[in-house]
Amino acid sequence: MGKRRKTAILVALPAAVALLATGCGGGGGGAGGGDSNGAVSIYGTEPQHPLTPGNTNEQGGIRVVDELYAGLVGFDPTTAKPYNLMAESITPSSDAKVYDIKIKHGWKFHDGTEVKAHNFVDAWNYAALATNAQINADFFAQIQGYDEVHPEDPKAKPTAQTMSGLKVLGDYEFQATLRAPFSVFPVKVGYEGFDPLPDVFFKDPKGFESHPIGNGPMKFVSYVPNQDIQLTRFDGYQGQDAVHFKDVDIKTYSDLNAAYSDLKGGQLDFLDLMPPAALVGDTYKADLPGRTLNSSLIDIDAIAVPYYVPGYNNPDLRKAISMAIDRDGIIKQVLNNAYDAANSYFSPSLDGNVPNSCEYCKYDPDAAKSAFARSGFTGKLTIASNSDGGHKEALTAVCNSITKVLGVACDFVPQTSLGQFRSMITSHQATGMVRSDWSADYPSVEDFLNPIYKTGASSNDATYSNPQVDALLAQADSTADAAGAIKLYQQAEALIAKDLPNIPLWSEKGTAGYSSKLSAAKLSWKRQPDLPSFRLA
């Protein structure tokens, strides 16, 4: 043993010297430049769930899961256009109900085993099975057989262990049959929850959580709770989103200001959002000369006007409120220009968005006043939200704007925590308007309609129900042609914009900064650092 090691060193030494020599020679003229074996540190928050695809749904965890695993489809960080990552092809049937998925050969998990079709099917089945209690189970609801592995009634036992709609057709091919046609499925599989899992996971899921093994551009090194998560480059990675450095340290911060001053001081290399104080007067641009980024996040902030609140089932009142909000003024005065005023029900950077499709989203005090007079509404308006995270200031300004124009009293009602606030909404106990923000899970107009405006949908905070909208959405879902589907989604949006179940306010512009250690970086549409675009200076 000892002897063999010695020879290994003897062989390795000249090789290393040779590598160093060539490294020195070629470094000056290299196209990309920079040290491809360097390390970077990025801002992070404590993951709320174990680091597996089926059980991660928040920013802190997604940041890590995105690097550890690679799914069928990837997205361009800026345009959010999908491209085939692990998928060789995703072929829909003519009715958009059956998808034949071929995956690329030779991709490996970090433990050396090859990624095969069954790794996807097994991972999806595991996430969907009710008894595994995975947080992303709902994402598989469109696959045939989901109702058997995940009965509607939470107390009922699943009658099957696997979804009948998933069939492995070979090592590199599988088929997904959906319960109903759904044309956005090839985009939806780009969501983290659809990433594959290696065979070792299924033997010991609990043990796997403490040392996750994925097929992504970076592999797991260590995780110290509340301190940091370290990943290192996986050299066997074959995807186009490989990284150009070696190690990343995802540092956990509980205070954004602390992270910002570390960024200024060069102790942190990337921060994906600026503290409010740094946005005032564009301070961050002076603090980080030439090292700031703007991206278009795919999200929309709105206020839902629940139909069950007495007096709120009144189209004129909805129009009056919407037209009484001076979105541009509030963005300028309260939100430090970090947002774009909403003029549609989609995020502006989304494919299929029609600018100004929400005709009542324009600030129009006179029209608002006459609509309010027609509505005959008496009493007080309220907007409820959890008050942390800067929501209080913005929504108070919205209320002030409404009061100024309509002369009706409007109060911001703070809630102590997001949990309390959300349970008030899901149990339909709101007594006024509520904050209803939405960030895309996957970049599609469908994700901005189905979960929010379909009758009985999971995030239908306004309890909106319009049979025409439901019919149009169903028709769009089953249209295999992407352009044709988008047209139908747009028609549904036009109807929603007349009813105003939610009142769109604004979309956030992403603002990020990086240290002088980096020469290039990007912020993705999900407000995640795009590690493949990082270049060390």
């Binding site: 947080i135 709770p225 509340n226 509980s254 102590t416 309390q420 899901t426």
Partner: protein
């Protein structure tokens, strides 16, 4: 003395049970579902919520929950967080950092505060006295987060995630600055008062050298209120310093409790606070015993 210590230790048991029960009740009594906001704008799958509630005994009544928790605690199991991290690991990671920070803060406030207090107490109304008075007033009036940010930016301080001793000197100074001012003022008043006490006059009359009069007779008797203050302060410092830790991104016990109260992770909060209660009780016991060492008039029987 031995009996006194024993009695004090026995008193710890009801205090321990009472505080843990109160803390446990308070954390779990927060009137909202800890899993309601876990999935952002979507509601969490009911199976997920049901499994978590079962895992954390949330469906039992409070008393049963508490007994189950206590049972585990006595076997050394602090439980785990919602994301499956052992609370024992969290404490083991955070506590050494907090202790290091607390000790540095205590040394800084003790040494600087005492020296300043003795010097000014002996030379009342001199230049130094006025300087210290103004300086301490200045420190007391500054909020900690202000001092923290100024020093952090001014010195370009960064604390690495393992928080070695050297990295913690400036944060320790920030943390101890306020108490340092109090220590200086307490010592000054106490010294000034005792300077005219009979036993000091006697010591001077006996012809003892000045250093001995001040160092032994005067200081030892004057330092009792200061020791009380330092003792309870150390207990408080061990409980973590949320603001200072936040400013310097130090991952100590204060931040741990703060984050977990927000996330309603009762297991973590109760585990850490239980430990803090024990530390605090031990600190106050040590302080009480120190009185007897410092002041020959105090005896514990």
């Amino acid at each position: 003395m031995g009996r006194y210590v024993l009695r004090r230790l026995l008193q710890l048991i009801p205090v321990f049970l009472g505080t843990t029960f109160i803390i446990y009740t308070l954390v779990w009594a927060i009137p909202s579902d800890p899993f309601a906001g876990k999935c952002g704008q979507r509601p969490c799958p009911p199976e997920y919520v049901a499994k978590m509630r079962a895992d954390f005994n949330l469906d039992d009544n409070l008393f049963v929950q508490y007994v189950k928790y206590l049972g585990k605690l006595f076997t050394g199991d602090f439980g785990q967080t919602f994301s499956g991290v052992k609370v024992g690991t969290l404490i083991a990671d955070a506590y050494p950092i907090t202790i290091r920070l607390a000790v540095i803060a205590l040394v800084i406030e003790g040494v600087i505060g005492l020296v300043a207090g003795v010097l000014t107490g002996l030379r009342k109304n001199g230049f130094l006295d006025n300087l210290v008075l103004v300086a301490t007033l200045f420190l007391i009036s500054l909020p900690v987060f202000f001092t923290g940010y100024v020093l952090k930016v001014g010195f370009g301080i960064s604390v690495s995630s393992t928080a070695p001793l050297g990295d913690l000197i400036v944060p320790g100074f920030v943390l101890g600055s306020l108490s340092m001012a109090y220590v200086a003022r307490l010592t000054r008043t106490s010294i000034a008062e005792n300077r005219r006490a009979d036993f000091v006059r006697t010591a001077i009359a006996k012809g003892l050298p000045g250093s001995r009069v001040v160092g032994v007779h005067l200081l030892r008797n004057s330092v009792i209120p200061v020791v009380t203050f330092l003792g309870t302060d150390l207990g408080a410092l061990m409980g973590g310093a949320i603001v200072t830790e936040g400013v310097f991104n130090i991952h100590g016990i204060g931040g741990l409790v703060f984050i977990n109260i927000q996330q309603q992770q009762g297991v973590v909060v109760t585990g850490v606070v239980t430990l803090l209660v024990l530390v605090y009780l031990a600190m106050s016991l040590i302080v009480d015993l120190l009185y007897a060492v410092l002041d020959p008039r105090i005896r514990y029987e």
